[in-house]
Structures are given as C-alpha cells and as structure tokens.
Symmetry: C2
DNA sequence: CTTCTTTCATTGACAGCGGAAAAGAACCCA
DNA sequence: TGGGTTCTTTTCCGCTGTCAATGAAAGAAG
C-alpha cells in the first residue's frame, strides 16, 4: 500500500543537534542562549545546530512579543513547528484498538477507536492497518506527511527488535510486529510496551520533561509503572520492569492470578475492586462505574474497599521510591476516576512507607484521557524519528 | 601533613582513553582488537588511546604466551599495572574504622582496623587521619605513591559535594568530610555512601563487571541494596536509593525503628534475628554467632527465625527485580555467614515473588571479607582518579 | 627457503564537531 | 547620535576518532 518515498530524515546528524531539538521539544519556546544554558553547549554550537533544523522547517522562530526584559537585543525564542510532521500512535488492548494522529509536538489531531474481534496477529494487524489507513487519509487533509507509526502493546516487548515477545492479553508470543506493520504500511514502525510508551510521552511532553529520575504509576485494570532513571526509560534486562502490580504487600491478602497472594493488583486492580465491592455489599456490581458510584454515594463497604486499594497503591509507590529515590512520581490511569476515594490513603501509605529523605519525592497526579495510551505510542514514533538513542 | 606535590594526573583526557582504560581494568588482559570490539571504537582510536597510558606505565603488555590462536600475528594482550598507583579506602562504622591500601586493580595490599571511641566529626577525622598516615608509611615501602583516598560512610552522602548529609550511626549532619580530610591528608578525597561504594567495587572489579543492570544486596546489621542501572550507580534524587531494608513486606510483622511494621530489616537484620531467637528459644542469646550456632546445631526455633529472615530477604529481592528487572542480583554482606540457613528460603521467596521473565534474573552470592567495605571505598577513589564521570 | 595467508597493530591523511573570542545586530536610554 | 546591554553569528582553530593503507609477526604452503 502507498509507496512511501522514504522522505528525507530530520536533520539531526550530530549529537548536539539532537540535544538541541529534544530540548526545544520538551521545554517549549526557548531562546538560543537559553538552549545553550540548558544543554551546556556553546552558543556557537547552538547556532550551528539550529540552522539546518530551521531550514528544514522543524524549528521556527516564535515572534513572542511579550515578556521582554526591555534591555538589550530582544531574544528570538525558538519552538518546534508541530505541524511539520505527523505521526500515528496505536494502542492495542485485548478488545479494542485506539489510534491517534499526532503532530510533532505530540498533540492529538484525530483519534479513532476500533473494537477488536479476533486476537490473532493476523486479525489484529488487519485492524491496525485499517485504522492507520483511515488516519493516513485524515493526514492528507493536513497536507503533511506521516513520518512514523508507534504501536503500544502490553506485555514483554523488545523495542529494539520490534518484537512482541509475550503478551498475555493478546496471547501472542514472539510476533515481529514492527516488521509486519512496516511492510504493510510502508512507514517506519516502532513497537514498545504500553506503559513504557506512556512514560516516553510523559518524559518528553508531560510532567517528566526535564526530570532525569521519575516514575509513572498507572492505575486501572492493572497497576503498572514506567521508570526513568538517569534520563532513560528502564526496560529491564529481560524486558520486564516496573511490575509493581505484582509486588506482594500482604501475605494474607487475596490471591492473585500470578500465583502469589496480596499483590497490589489483586487489591487495587479494577477487577479486584469490583469483586470485593460485590462481596462486601452483596450487590450485583459488575463494572467500575457502578462500584465507583456506590462509593461516591457513601456506601461504607465500598468506600473501605477503595481505601484499602489506595493504601496498597501508596505502599507500592513507597516501595518504588525507597528503591529508586526518584524525584517525582506521576500517578495516572483510568483508575484515576476514583482518585478522590484513593488520594488520602495513597498519600498516607506512601508517607508511612517512604524512608528518610526519599519521602521528599514529589507525588502528583495527572488525568489520563482515553487516547493517552495511543499518544504514548505516537511519542515513541516521534522518538524514533528524531533518532535520539532514547537519550 | 605531607605536602603532596599534586602529582601528574592519569593521562585519560579523552572519553575514548577513559573508556579504554576502564575496559581493560574490568575485563582483564585484552588485546587491542578486543578492546576495539568491546568499546565499539576503531582500532586506530584504541592504538592512540593506549600509547600515553602505556608510556605513563598504567597499561603494560602481558606476554601471555598461552591461548594463541596459532594463526596470524600473535596478539599483545594489555592489562593494567596494578602496582603503578596505590589508593586508600576507609570504611567508617559507628564503632570501628577499617582502612585498606589497595592498588590500581583494587587488590588489597594492607588492611588496618581501629576501634572508634568518639563519634563526633573531629574525633573520627583524627582517627581516619591516623590510619591514613599509617597506610601512607606502608605505601612508601612499595615505592609507589598513593593517589587518592576514598571514604565510605553509611547514610545520606552527597558524593559530588563530598558532604555527609546525614548519618544516623554517627549522628552527623552536613559534614563536609571530603574537604576536611582533603586538607588534612593533602590527597584527593572521595566520599560516598558505603553501599554505593561496595557497588562500585563490584561494578568495576567484581561480579558486576560488564553488566549494565544489577543489584547488590547486603545482608548484615542492616539490609541494603546498591543499584546499577544503565551502567551507572543509582543515587536517588535525594541521595537515598536501594533502601530495601525498609520495604514493608508484612503489615502484621514486627515494628521497625523507622516507625513502620514488617520491614525487611525488622525481620532479617542482625538485631532482629538475635532478638527473635531469644524470644523463641528463651535463651540469653546476645550475638549473631550465638544465634547462628544455635541454628546450626539444629534448634528448630532458631532455624525458623532464619527461615523467616530468608523469606523476607527473598521477597525484598523479588521486589527489586520486579521493579528494575536487573540482569543479576549479587547477595553479600556479613550476614552471609548464615547463608546456608537462608539460601533455600531466599530462593523460594524470590522465585515466588518474581514476575514473568524477571525471574530469569541471575541471583548469586559472594562472600564478603571484612575489609570489603573499605575496598569499596578504595574503588571510589580509583574511579575519581581515572576521572570517568561514573560512566 | 621463499612466498602466501591470516591476524594484529600502526600510521597518516582527513572530516567535522564543538569551543573561544570577537564582531555584528537589535533594542533602550540618555 | 552615541553608549549600554543582551542576543546571535562568524571566523578560526584544536582536537578527536575514522578510513584506508601499510607494516609486523607468526604459521602454512609450495
């Protein structure tokens, strides 16, 4: 389909240029001197790195007329022209595919859903391709080319090889997804674990921008965690990292599907909460919204379930903080809808379990729109496009 | 004391030279081509980097006559001349100072002890200085100069600033130890947290050589953990990392001095084990050796205490592995004397709590001679001497 | 005993990155 | 119009690491 003319790459041949570009990307409009300060490069080096990027249209000079210091030559802030390139991000879940068209600044332009009927690689690939085609058509409307596709899949994903090693939800093993999708779409494809993809988005375009050590905790069906250490996303030697959902925090807790007892996920995962609310209240609760509603209306049993869940999450965060000492923890995820029920208990449990100065860690929350996962996938595509070696 | 003539630094001006030197340091004798392969440098670059290092005597050509491939020009393996420089490593505990004289390959030449009577910075500094002087005298016997001092202190240590921010055992706050010791000894001083120092030794000269992601777990009075992620030692944004001793793994467990309950240290730390053995057996056990002896002689109560301790350690390791997915975990520490009592339970608990492929992590043990902590301090001094920015 | 092959090591030319310093540019203010 | 200030660019230069060719040291082959 669509013979991609292997368009010219973004001109970031030198490490300095790459550094400059990612700096502007993450830190909004920045003057050349500002870039030099931030990157510890000489201003001459910045000038030289910026020129080809401007000529190619990736950087533009904002005519930002306010906030002038009123003395000396006025600064020429640079920013990335988001509209210069488009990317497609796709999140594959067990029963749905979400795809977004995002610009170079990872702002979402268009979002699409598609229910997933079959889970075998062929069927999923077909669905992905369909959505990608739709978005490519949309992209034509913007008159800008799509320069890459990112695919986010939960489970053990080898980004470098572009292979999904094992995905429990899809029941896949060793699927060379990047290659498959690449030949079908004719675009460069990046495949990564979903939580890591979200972490990349946060690192470049979100609350992790400019922070070298942080953790992103996702609360929802599962409890996950993406980690950035020394400015790089942690993948783990065996492709698994940030598995805080299966930290066992209570030997006497409920059994988990992983075979252990008292896992965070077995206490604070969506399914666990629903089951427990049902048990406690005796009501035929089947969905998160019902459980949530019950708790919001003041049902003490339901509230207690959420309190325990919050405590479990807080202790898991405490564990991460004690082990890694990150500067910040970002809590996000679909489960954030219940944050008002959680919040206090998360904070209390975290404070109690964090040791020493590690407790100074800044714990914050961020809402997670449903397309956010797909946006994470787009962020990985942008990362690959720029060619930074994951910093 | 002793006016150090600020001797010429090791000639590693360029990143390539530094890379070459550390590669040879960690990976034993290596031919130039081997270095080029390992470092992804061109052979020309290796040649150029090696020359000044050989001229300065830091690298020597081993006349390694065996294991020749019998075809082509024979290789000239290079190795670091350990005897070319000496370093002093000092570990400061609450009641003792251990110092070693180590060579450039971090082999211990001389080791010394000194009981500590007072814990105020002045007294400790005096003791350190005394030991350092002794070792400097010893060093004269080798005819080689001492090129740096490393100090290892438990607690929150800012290596970059050379300041001990907070050490509970010494009851220090914000002591600029590097500066103090530097002016007194006239040598470059590196100050670091003790567990991190041990981790550095392991990373450069031990079971962590060549591994980019590993954890070092120390079992003894406390339960500590040093982490290497992306080839760099993790310090934590607030100076605290690897605090697995205060992971709370059992809400109903014994209280811990940190205010929490069921901390690993409150179950598997030396003091906790002794107390618990006393409670269980009713015998007036006061030392680790007595408790150990009791368990080794088959006392079921004591054995059970060690079993629980092993389980706690195993679960803590499981937590680290789930969060970081390291390639290897090295267990060490004074508590390793009880390893036969622990081992099985550590392994079982680890296996049970490790999730997915993270369980593939290689868990190994290493004996820890009493001077090892001081050797770690020496390793940090060597690191500073070479001037690698902690990789 | 020479000549080949193979592998290891070195040399010299070279591209090009990034830094230092100085000059240029744009603005305000007197 | 000329200073003062700050941002940006230019010019030159050192220096690093690569390329490709050459040299070196063996055993194998004729």
């Amino acid at each position: 389909m669509r013979s991609t003319p292997r368009t010219e790459a973004v001109p970031v041949p030198t490490p300095a240029a790459s550094l400059v570009f990612t700096t502007v990307l993450s830190h909004g409009p920045l003057t050349r001197t500002g870039i030099a300060r931030r990157t510890a490069l000489s201003s001459a080096a910045v000038t030289k790195a910026v020129r080809p990027l401007m000529e190619a249209g990736y950087l533009v000079e904002g005519v930002d007329e306010e906030s002038r210091p009123a003395l000396g030559r006025p600064a020429n802030p640079l920013r990335v022209d988001g509209g210069r390139a488009l990317f497609i991000g796709v999140k594959v879940t067990g029963d749905e595919i979400i795809a977004v068209l995002a610009d170079l600044c990872c702002r979402i332009r268009v979002a699409r859903h598609l229910p997933l009927t079959a889970r075998d690689p062929g069927a999923v690939l077909a669905s992905i391709t369909g959505l990608v085609q739709e978005l490519l058509t949309e992209a034509d409307g913007f008159g800008v080319e799509v320069r890459g596709v990112g695919l986010a899949v939960s489970g053990d994903v080898d980004r470098g090889a572009g292979v999904v090693r094992y995905s429990p939800f899809l029941d896949w093993r060793d699927v060379p997804l990047a290659e498959l999708a690449g030949t079908v779409t004719g675009l460069p494809v990046t495949v990564d674990n979903d939580v890591r993809a979200l972490t990349v988005a946060e690192q470049w375009f979100g609350a992790g921008a400019g922070i070298s050590d942080f953790a992103l905790v996702t609360v929802g069906a599962g409890i996950g965690c993406g980690l950035v250490v020394h400015g790089r996303v942690v993948s783990g030697a065996h492709g698994v990292a940030g598995e805080i959902g299966h930290l066992s925090i209570d030997p006497l807790g409920p059994p988990c599907h992983c075979g252990n007892t008292g896992c965070v996920e077995a206490i604070a995962g969506d399914a666990a909460i629903i089951r427990r609310v049902r048990e406690v209240t005796g009501l035929p609760v089947t969905g998160s919204d019902q459980a949530l509603d019950l708790a919001h209306r003041g049902d003490p049993g339901a509230r207690e379930v959420y309190a325990r869940a919050g405590e479990a999450i807080g202790r898991a965060i405490g564990a991460v903080v004690n082990v890694l000492g990150p500067q910040r923890v970002i809590i996000s995820g679909e489960g954030l809808a219940a944050y008002d029920l959680f919040a206090e208990h998360i904070r209390d449990a975290f404070t109690a379990s964090a040791f020493g100065t590690a407790a100074q860690c800044d714990v914050m929350t961020r809402p997670l729109p449903f397309e956010e996962w797909a946006r994470g996938a787009a962020a990985t595509a942008i990362q690959s496009f720029i060619g930074t070696d994951t910093q």
